[in-house]
């Protein structure tokens, strides 16, 4: 191992590389390209993944949304085209029937209202919600808290408003918690201000009030606009979606085959599709990168082999003046490893530079297509180690070829 740290070994490599600038350049490009592709593609894939992750943000990704539309099949004496509403009673039944499968269930009602504070006003969405909503989509609260059980029980007139509403309705520097805003001319006490998530967003700028309060104020009776269901860990969300809708069809006298009566959106399946796509992309990246890398390393081995042939005479001379086969082999392997690693490093540097440019160009801002396109240090280290190993292995062949020729035959070579 000493020879690696010997300045003379490097002197020799320098000499041989200087002599063969073109072939050195060409071989380096092969490996460089492989590593470059690997870094850039992995980085881009990572960036895309981060982008998706950011898109789903704090949203529970195994959620299903269910709402009602109108029937498309007559059933049990009902005409087709009938409209109907989800009921509060449905909630209890679903919770009971799907015990252990449904993790969270949030029934929701929504409307649009004028909201005023002092002389400022704006038209906003108002949502009647259960406290559990906070667990489905975590609200980033800047001030105060979200709606709680107590608000529900006491049907308090409290509201949690968005940051934008706060800015629009309040004077600068006024502390919002405890202040009153008028929603549809009724006073509500502000208990929280949240920062709207810039990712998947159910409600936009909404004022949240307790579900029970909404029911009383807007007189919605037992009606529910729609609901969000999340599944327990390990539950097949797609199957659960089907089963829940079938149960609801039964409760609402809808034909089991009715395609229009219930609308639903399954975030889990959508994400699974994207994840599958991402996995595919990463697999492709690895495949392309590694194949290129191997091709590059083989090119290096091949070129070294050619050089060894070209240098047969020189190697013969060296052996005549006392070079042991071992020192010749070491030299060639060191050269191979050196070329591969230099190429690898250049590839990583160029790749990182490209990722940096991509990041600056497309990776910033809330709507970025690629977020933080980076490659893990461990991956780089693994790639690098692989290069050294491959460089050594591939160098073994020309190294062996260089020493199987008898020195006298090598010298006779012209």
């Amino acid at each position: 191992m000493k020879f690696i740290f010997d300045s003379d070994s490097w002197q020799e490599i320098y000499g041989s590389i200087r002599k063969n600038k073109v072939r050195t350049g060409i071989t380096i490009i092969g490996v460089l390209w492989g590593i470059f592709l690997l870094v850039v593609l992995l980085g881009a894939a990572r960036g895309m993944e981060n982008g998706f992750k950011k898109l789903f943000g704090d949203f529970a990704t195994n959620s299903v949304f269910v709402w009602t539309q109108s029937t498309d099949t007559p059933f049990r004496g009902f005409q087709k085209g009938r409209t109907f509403r989800l009921k509060e009673a449905d909630i209890e039944i679903l919770k009971r029937e799907f015990e252990g499968e449904i993790k969270l269930l949030a029934p929701r009602n929504q409307t649009n209202n004028l909201i005023t504070h002092d002389f400022k006003s704006g038209n906003f969405q108002v949502c009647g919600d259960y406290p559990v909503l906070d667990q489905i989509q975590k609200k980033k609260l800047i001030y105060g808290r979200f709606i709680n059980e107590n608000d529900m029980l006491t049907t308090s007139k409290v509201t949690v408003i968005s940051e934008d509403m706060y800015i629009q309705l309040f004077d600068k520097g006024v502390y919002p918690i405890g202040a009153y805003v008028k929603i549809n001319n009724i006073n509500y006490k502000v208990v929280g201000v949240y920062e709207p998530s810039n990712t998947i967003n159910l409600d936009g700028d909404s004022a949240y009030i307790p579900f029970s309060t909404f029911k009383r104020v807007y007189n919605t009776g037992n009606n529910i606009d729609w609901m969000v269901i999340t599944a327990e860990e390990g539950i097949n969300i797609e199957q659960m979606e089907k089963d829940v809708i079938l149960t609801l069809k039964n409760l609402h006298n809808v034909h089991p085959e009715d395609k229009r009566a219930f609308g639903s959106f399954n975030l889990g399946t959508q994400i699974a599709k994207l994840t599958g796509f991402l996995t595919g992309m990463q697999f492709l990246t690895w495949f392309v990168g590694i194949a290129t890398l191997i091709a590059g390393v083989f090119a290096i081995g091949n070129i070294l082999l050619i050089t060894v042939k070209e240098r047969t005479k020189e190697i013969g001379i060296r052996r005549a003046i006392g070079a042991t086969p071992r020192s010749i082999r070491q030299q060639i392997i060191l050269e191979s490893v050196f070329l591969t690693t230099i190429a690898g490093m250049l590839g990583i540097i160029f790749g990182s530079a490209v990722l940096f440019v991509i990041d600056t160009a497309f990776g910033q801002g809330p709507d970025a297509a690629l977020v933080n396109p980076t490659v893990n240090i461990p991956i780089i280290i693994i790639a690098f180690a692989t290069l050294v190993v491959l460089g050594t292995l591939i160098g073994l062949i020309p190294a062996h070829m260089a020493t199987i020729v008898k020195p006298i035959e090598a010298l006779r070579e012209e």
Binding site: S7, R18, A320, P325
Partner: protein, 233 residues
């Protein structure tokens, strides 16, 4: 220094094999200056290569510095070459991308001498062959005679016991031949054993002993008049 007994060497050519050396007996003592003459194909180079451990013999015994050369592996041969032998070739065999100085220093590299010391010693030897000013020139910037002097400096730099030269003047004109021969004579006067192959009678006449080969056997082996004029070592 070199003792050869009933040495045989054949080269296989297809199914046949040609018998090149047919029982050579030769004893060269330390400090001798021997030339080998003989027609082309008589086996001179073959003999020198065997002596130089670049090739192996089939039969007979070869002792180098008292050591029987048998079942040599490449590593051991390389070490012995580096320690005892210096080579000078007809075609110089300098490494083209290394300067004269680096070429001369190369055997010391394989001997494990550090770079600074190596270059100092190499420079000393270049000075000795009168090429100090040419130290940083590449071989293709040197004349044939200069190249051969570099090659000689390279052969000497490890202070070998024997210098083996295969037609060292074969590619040179008569003036440069003389300067190369003067150099070899100087080395020999310092006590080094010198063993040269040549076709030229004038060259052979400058050595102390002439061995004539014909068809793989020694036909004559005599001392020249130089033997008396120069002190016997």
């Amino acid at each position: 220094m070199i003792r050869i007994e009933k040495l045989h060497k054949s080269y296989p050519i297809g199914k046949e094999s040609i018998h090149v050396l047919k029982g050579i007996d030769l004893h060269i003592k330390e400090g001798e200056f021997v030339s080998i003459m003989g027609s082309s194909g008589s086996g001179k180079s073959t003999l020198l290569n065997i002596v130089g451990l670049l090739d192996i013999h089939d039969e007979g015994n070869y002792y180098l510095n008292g050591e029987l050369i048998k079942d040599m592996n490449e590593k051991k041969a390389a070490i012995l070459r580096n320690k005892f032998l210096g080579f000078v070739f007809q075609s110089f065999n300098l490494i083209s991308y290394k300067t004269a100085l680096e070429n001369v220093a190369l055997p010391l590299y394989y001997k494990g001498v550090n770079r600074k010391e190596r270059l100092e010693i190499a420079m000393e030897y270049l000075e000795k062959v009168g090429l100090k000013e040419w130290a940083n020139h590449l071989p293709n910037e040197l004349s044939g005679g200069q190249k051969q002097r570099v090659a000689i400096a390279r052969a000497l730099v490890t202070k070998p016991k024997v210098v083996l030269a295969d037609e060292p003047t074969g590619a040179l004109d008569s003036t440069t031949t003389d300067s190369v021969m003067d150099l070899l004579k100087d080395i020999n006067n310092e006590g080094m054993t010198v063993f040269v192959i040549t076709h030229e009678e004038e060259v052979a006449a400058q050595t102390k002993r002439i061995v004539r080969l014909k068809d793989g056997v020694i036909v004559s082996d005599e001392l020249t008049k130089n033997t008396n004029s120069v002190s016997h070592v």
